[in-house]
């Protein structure tokens, strides 16, 4: 099973920095913007973005939250993956705010669909934007497109993309795995995580 690195430590850091500058370019000092990471893997990226934004902007007032979408998935009872939830932490009102949803890999779009559904249970944001580290183009099952992208990857169904973070996995890197054994496992992400769909 060949594994190819797409991004490694330095490139991940540069990409995150660029994404932060993109956000500042679009939204000024991020007043009225809330960064919301999707559990479980999107929050790793969201925390890094937040840290970097605080460094660049020099203040800590950026609204930040984490959202679990387990109960909103459309594949409940079809999969054997985790049914237990992660923590949700959104302690501010979304009314009138621009929410930037953050996830690591955008693949079929179904996670984001569930994320939007979960997000709207907290109120009515003015706008919702989508930021992803990796966009697996041409593999969408729903009409969902990202606004900010770290890197585009053209991959076919029996390939998988995994994102590892220094904080939990030892180093920052994005890997592309080509799996020739069983095409159905293409949406099984290593570590049992399930953001890549």
């Amino acid at each position: 099973m060949p594994t190819v690195p797409i991004l490694t430590n330095k490139a991940v850091a540069l990409t995150i920095e660029r994404l932060c500058h993109e956000l500042i370019e679009d939204h000024g000092d991020l007043d009225g913007v809330a960064l919301v990471g999707l559990q479980p893997r999107g929050v790793q990226l969201a925390r890094r973005l937040r840290k970097e934004l605080v460094r660049i902007l020099g203040d800590e007032k950026l609204k930040y939250g984490e959202l679990d979408i387990t109960f909103h998935r459309d594949d409940f009872r079809q999969r054997t993956t985790s049914v237990a939830p992660s923590a949700t932490d959104l302690d501010f009102s979304l009314e009138g705010r621009t929410v930037v949803l953050v996830d690591d890999v955008l693949y079929t779009g179904r996670t984001i669909r569930a994320g939007l559904d979960a997000l709207l249970a907290f109120g009515r944001p003015e706008k919702v934007k989508l930021l992803v580290l990796i966009d697996r183009r041409f593999s969408r099952e729903l009409p969902i497109q990202p606004d900010h992208v770290g890197k585009w990857v053209d991959s076919i169904a029996n390939e998988r993309v995994t994102v590892e973070w220094a904080g939990t996995d030892g180093q920052d890197r994005v890997l592309l795995h080509t799996d020739q054994v069983d095409a159905r496992s293409s949406d099984d992400v290593a570590h049992g995580t399930s953001n890549d769909r």
Partner: protein
């Protein structure tokens, strides 16, 4: 980087975050891992219940029948709220005025309801073992909402969950259950649940209301309430079930007043302890009997937390059992 094995069919893999059981008939069938999973899932639902929109779509293709063959208010309301907040469709059935009074058997009644495409059954029944019996005759998941004097698993789960929430753990804590142990399904389920989670359990009450040989379940018995309270961290004050007393022609204690004096907690008794004892009660409270109003409304009383947590716990149980129902592909 270790990739998950891809050999074999996906459906053969049962992940560790599934319940080990298809039904919730009693706590006795659950393992500590199941209870921890239910608590972890309930944490998520507790957060959902704090949102402006307290509803998730997880069970929108599931229909649940609530079969109550015995009177109940809070348990039925709690289950119904839990079901609706999971977006399940709900049908309610109570014994009075139903075909049960026309002589239909339990299995026939339930099969008739299931024939209308009902996916799960929540049942309260006056006979011990009714849920276990039913589980041997029908395929759908069954949740026991109390069967006679046998078990009331969701009550025990919400009790232990409330203790965990208040004190941060259950393991190693000392819990005394006070009152009518003999007629109490809450007591039996609580004993199983607390023991499985590693707590120590003591029972206190009049000798007539404590079953003989109950020590064989690994619990202590102390008839002197003051000694029991001095020992414990948490006191679960069971309701004196007036409707179950004297049914066999024998009064189990001389008078409610005497019971209140010997086994009730008033503020004086509470203060004399000189510690932050946690007070619980499964409700409905007979104020002035098991606890006085001052104690029921005390800062260390978690009686209303128990009620609130009941919805989250029942959502977790329904959700985790529903996760094991195969999805219809038609």
């Amino acid at each position: 980087m270790s990739a998950k094995s891809t050999m074999g069919s996906e459906s053969e893999v049962i992940p560790s975050d599934q319940l080990s059981t298809r039904h919730l008939l009693g706590i006795k069938e659950l393992r500590a891992a199941d209870i921890e999973l239910i608590f972890r899932t309930a944490d998520g639902f507790k957060e959902v219940l704090g949102r402006p929109i307290k509803k998730v779509p997880a069970l929108r293709d599931i229909t649940i029948a609530n079969l109550f063959f015995e009177a109940s208010t809070r348990t039925r309301v709690s289950f119904e709220l839990a079901e609706r907040r999971l977006s399940a469709d709900v049908v309610n059935f109570s014994a009075s005025g139903s075909s049960v009074s026309k002589g239909e058997t339990l299995v026939d009644t339930v099969n008739n309801i299931l024939a209308m495409k009902v996916d799960m059954v929540v049942m309260r029944h006056p006979d011990p073992g009714a849920a276990v019996f039913l589980s041997k005759h029908i395929d759908s998941p069954i949740i026991n909402a109390g069967d006679g004097t046998h078990e009331h698993p969701t009550q025990a789960l919400l009790d232990a969950y409330s203790i965990r929430e208040k004190l941060g753990r259950v393991k190693g804590l000392k819990v005394v259950i006070v009152g009518d142990i003999l007629h109490s399904r809450v007591a039996l389920s609580n004993i199983f649940c607390l023991k499985e989670l590693g707590a120590e359990v003591m029972l206190s009450g009049p000798a007539t209301l404590i079953p003989r040989h109950i020590e064989s379940l690994g619990v202590k018995v102390e008839h002197d309430l003051d000694k029991a309270l001095a020992w414990c961290d948490v006191a679960n004050m069971l309701r004196i079930q007036l409707e179950r007393q004297g049914g066999d022609g024998i009064a189990n204690f001389p008078s409610l007043r005497e019971y209140a004096v010997r086994y009730g907690i008033d503020l004086a008794r509470y203060r004399k302890l000189g510690k932050e004892l946690i007070i619980m009660h499964p409700g409905p409270i007979n104020r002035g009997v098991e606890v006085t109003s001052e104690v029921a409304d005390h800062a260390n009383s978690i009686i209303l937390d128990q009620v609130q947590n009941g919805v989250a716990i029942r959502m977790a149980v329904l959700y985790l059992l529903a996760a094991r129902i195969p999805r219809s592909t038609v």
